[in-house]
Amino acid sequence: MHKAISLPFARSARRRVLPGFGLSLGISLTFVSLVLLLPLTGLVGQLKGLSLSEYWFIISEPRVVASYVTTIGGALVAALVNAVFGLLMAWVLVRYDFPGKRLLDALMDLPFALPTAVAGITLATLYSSKGWMGQLLEPLGWQVSYTWVGIALAMAFTSIPFVVRTVQPVLEDLPAEIDEAAMSLGARDGVAFRRVILPHLWPALVTGTGLAFVRSLGEFGAVIFIAGNMPYETEITSLMIFVKLQEYDYVGASAIASVVLATSLALLLAINLWQGRFIRRLHGGRG
């Protein structure tokens, strides 16, 4: 992202074939300001009445801290599960031809299209002690709904497309010749995958997993129905914000939201910087 913006500036002295850089950048910046920056500024603005110690008091309340742990733990598990299964899914979609491939491909985007609350209610019904899956798992002693497992499950559901959709194009770009070259040099399947294919997918996989993680941190609709929302145990941070809002404590809500926001932004920035390093190497320092 930082590159895409800095490049035109660096070359602005050279005339481009298509005019309109000024106009298009102006419109984009206006749009970004209205849709992204204005609400964020409003959020930060809410905090101006707070002193540092008051701010710290709100965000370090034990119940809120417990919600951080639940949220981060759930998101971490969801992201890791998605990393494995998302990679597998992308692999299957790119490398093999089978009937129904297009359908499966389209299905991947469903979590984006489906209202998350609908997904949440469905999951909660499915895994409750009366639901299909719940009935099967209960006798085994596996409680999914109203535990962190259910939270991770709901988070995994809403964020799997991030992994599949970031890995898929990179995998498509990887010619089959690469595997063949590795095998002609005597590499076993596992070695070829680990030493030749995985390093190529690594940046995309980390980016996708990171995005899935960040998305899970902020997930609300899908999670609250299955989470049970027991204080100190299965409350997620976005629920804490919601609770504050219901108590008309806008400042408290903003304070907690700012923590989520800062964490997400820091993570996204880190992913971007890290990925840039990898891509430069693959493209010989020119990318």
Binding site: I178, A181, A182, S184, G186, A187, V196, P199, R281, L282
Partner: protein
């Protein structure tokens, strides 16, 4: 190591990519598989490598020397394979690319890291890239990348080196240089090589023997010289160089087509003869045997010779002729000059037009029918 192929055939779905093929390659030979795209040459190479499996058949066999590798996986065949687009591992340095084959050996056979290091550096020296060992593939030119990929393929000292259009993605000058260099390497290290190309010049220049293929069949296997002088059928003749056609009705030993007349000893009826550009002479007057009037439409000096294009009503397509600079000056050729073409030599393939060939025709038939050829005494 010699390579022997028995009854290799391959279908992709319902289309036949290779008709049953038998081929013997001697140890230490450099063989070119030449053919247009879709002729099955790459499929054949990939079958030799083990990247593609031939159709099941009781007689189907692939032998490397005495070793039967028909059902051996590519990783255990001990071949070197060079890909058209290099297929280098982009996330590894040049050094690591070349070392890859050695580092994935089972622990018992794997050399120590010091030995790997010296072997890789020796290979990189051989391909004259030791100064670029720490670079990444994306920082190298196409020719350098292909040399890295060659060094990588040779790291395990394979006795068989297979190359799939190795110079196809490179520009003409680099291609020329790499060709010479591959030939040199081949002679020095003594492995058996098979390479695929669609460039007839490359095949003729580089190979000990050339295998000409079309439509999944082998048309001819011969040394470049024999191939060029005695093409076995019309397909081979046409594929190996530029060709001029003359089609007409023969009556009493004279072929006529519009105002064109040529005396030749062919049976009565519609006949077609073929001529190479260098077999066409150009003169200011017709000879007793040949009356082939034409108009010069282009004069292009190319190196040591002048290439001219001739056009006339009796031609389907313009003819090409190559003359010496001296002849071209003497005739004062320019665009629009009226001249007469005098065939010095011509070729006739009675029944093997590529478009009328039946799938069951074996390469042998055209050999039996033989190509008719003739030297005519025409001079300028």
């Amino acid at each position: 190591m010699s390579i022997r192929l028995d009854h290799i055939q391959k279908h992709f779905g319902r289309s036949q990519a290779l008709s049953p093929i038998d081929l013997d390659i001697n140890s230490g030979e450099l063989i070119g598989l030449l053919g247009p795209s879709g002729s099955g040459k790459t499929t054949l190479l990939r079958i030799i490598a083990g990247l593609e499996t031939p159709d099941d058949h009781p007689d189907c066999r692939i032998l490397f020397g005495e070793r039967d590798v028909t059902h051996v996986h590519v990783r255990d065949r001990r071949i070197g394979f060079v890909f058209q687009h290099y297929a280098l591992f982009r996330h590894m340095s040049v050094f690591d690319n070349v070392a890859f084959g050695l580092t994935v050996l089972p622990r018992r056979e794997r050399p120590s890291s010091g030995e790997i290091r010296s072997r890789v550096m020796q290979l990189l020296e051989m391909v004259q890239l030791s100064h670029l060992a720490e670079r990444f593939p994306a920082q190298l030119s196409g020719g350098q990348q292909q040399r890295v990929s060659l060094a990588r393929a040779l790291a395990l000292k394979p006795e068989v080196l297979l190359l799939d259009e190795p110079f196809g993605a490179l520009d003409a000058k680099v291609r020329q240089e790499l060709r010479r260099w591959l030939r040199h390497l081949h002679d020095e290290l003594g492995f058996t090589s098979v390479f695929v190309t669609h460039d007839q010049e490359e095949a003729l220049e580089l190979s000990d023997r050339v295998v000409v293929m079309s439509n999944g069949r082998i048309e001819q296997i011969d040394t470049p010289e024999t191939l060029y002088r005695q093409p076995r059928n019309r397909f081979v003749f046409e594929f190996l160089g530029d060709v001029n056609h003359l089609e007409g009705e023969v009556r009493g030993g004279v072929l006529t087509c519009g105002e064109a007349r040529l005396t030749l000893d062919l049976d009565d009826g519609p006949q077609e003869i073929l001529l190479r550009p260098h077999e066409v002479q150009v003169a200011a007057a017709p000879s007793a045997d040949a009356h082939l009037p034409a108009v010069v439409t282009a004069v292009v000096p190319v190196g040591a010779e002048v290439r001219i294009e001739l056009n006339a009503d009796w031609m389907d397509e313009p003819w090409m002729a190559t003359l010496s600079h001296g002849d071209a000056e003497r005739l004062a050729l320019g665009r629009g000059s009226r001249v007469y073409a005098l065939p010095r030599r011509w070729h006739h393939y009675p029944d093997s037009r590529p478009d009328s060939q039946q799938p069951d025709v074996s390469g042998d038939r055209s050999a039996k029918s033989g190509a008719k050829r003739r030297e005519s005494g025409a001079t300028v």
